[in-house]
Amino acid sequence: MKAFLAILGRDLRLSLGSGGIGLPVVFFLLVATLYPFAVGPDGALLAKTGGGVLWVAALLAALLPIDRLIAPDAEAGVLDQYAVRGVGEEMIAAAKITAHWIGFGPPLMLAAIPASAMLRLDGETLAAVELGLLAGTPGLAALGVMVASLTAGLRRGGALAGLLMLPLAIPLIIFGAGSIGDFGGGALRFLAASSLFLVAVAPFAAGAGIRALRE
């Protein structure tokens, strides 16, 4: 537990220090700003499609910090030092997922408020987007760390990470965007379930990836 908190604290400090939190938020807001320019100022159209655009923007924003998550620690020998101290790879992955989520989940939820104003979303839609982001971003964070650990040993791993991550994120984006117009809550439950599944699986997959990096 001590190691978990130490790794969590270090990763949070690093993402704060390197502008890792600001970048996804700025990117997210930029997409929300550009979209009305691209489709025109038709309020009804914006309100109808805006929620889905926010989900695509959230997914792409989650991709941005991926090359910072594992590769620098692997190169600097930090992961080796954890291993020498007997810290389990799954524990490292779980701590990194938590830190990554704190670094982009809540900031995106905050950024969704001004973004929804630019896309003419009403309060009800905004509430659905926020609830969806709360349920879905942990899954995106888990996916990000998993893909980052699998591609950390490769050259140009960043580009490959996008190709790997986007297909795996399809359930999240379908149910995330689906949860907006769906007032029965079925899509939100599927979203939460896919997210939970990713959070449960990712530490083990990422842990195996980290172990494989040593070879």
Binding site: E75, Q81, V84
Partner: protein, 194 residues
């Protein structure tokens, strides 16, 4: 300290190639082992194997006590002041800031404590790497080419630190090209396996 380290008939295979086989050593309190041999013969791999970072292909390895590894990777956050960067690992090892200042003192780096790691020179970074091992309070030190990039004065400090660690009952395993002043150390000469 009740440190011990023993391996017998140890073999390592990397990329389908036998790096070494049939290595034996037994180390007790205060012992030192010097690994020698040409480049690429597996000295670093042996250290990583002892550290648990590589699997042994064959043979047995047992040790008692905590390990600390110093290889070519600094594992120190470049943006942090040196003392804080070392403090991260000392905190994880449960030794704390006192151990860090003692380690900096031992390697004559006290005045660099507030300097960010990224501004350190190559040799200073090398010493910082060794300071991480000193501050860990570990019983068994695994040092991979610790003398690389060190000036004569720093080399003497390193030798003194190793001697002090051994006097307390610690074990040191060193892979080195340079002659290090290790008193009655065992030597293991690695040869290229055919």
């Amino acid at each position: 300290m009740t440190a011990s380290l023993a391996f017998s008939n140890l073999a390592c295979v990397r990329g389908g190639r036998v790096l070494f086989k049939g290595l034996n050593a037994t180390l007790g309190r205060g012992d030192a082992l010097l690994l020698t041999g040409p480049n690429g013969v597996g000295k670093s791999s042996l250290l990583r194997l002892i550290a648990g970072l590589l699997p042994a292909y064959a043979g047995t390895l047992t040790f008692e006590g905590r390990l600390a590894l110093s290889d070519e990777n600094p594992a120190l956050d470049p943006r942090l002041p040196l003392a804080k960067a070392l403090g991260y690992w000392a905190g994880m090892d449960g030794t704390g800031p006192m151990a860090v200042s003692a380690a900096l003192e031992a390697l004559d780096m006290t005045r660099l404590a507030e300097v960010p790691v990224r501004l350190l020179s190559t040799g200073q970074r090398r010493r910082a790497n060794l300071a991480r091992v000193l501050a860990s309070g570990a019983d068994i030190w695994l040092l991979d080419e610790p003398g690389n990039g060190l000036d004569t004065a720093s080399l003497a400090l390193l030798e003194r630190a190793i001697a002090a660690h051994r006097a307390k009952g610690g074990i040191v395993v060193v892979a080195s090209h340079q002659p290090l002043g290790l008193l009655d150390a065992q030597t293991l000469a690695l040869e290229a396996a055919e």
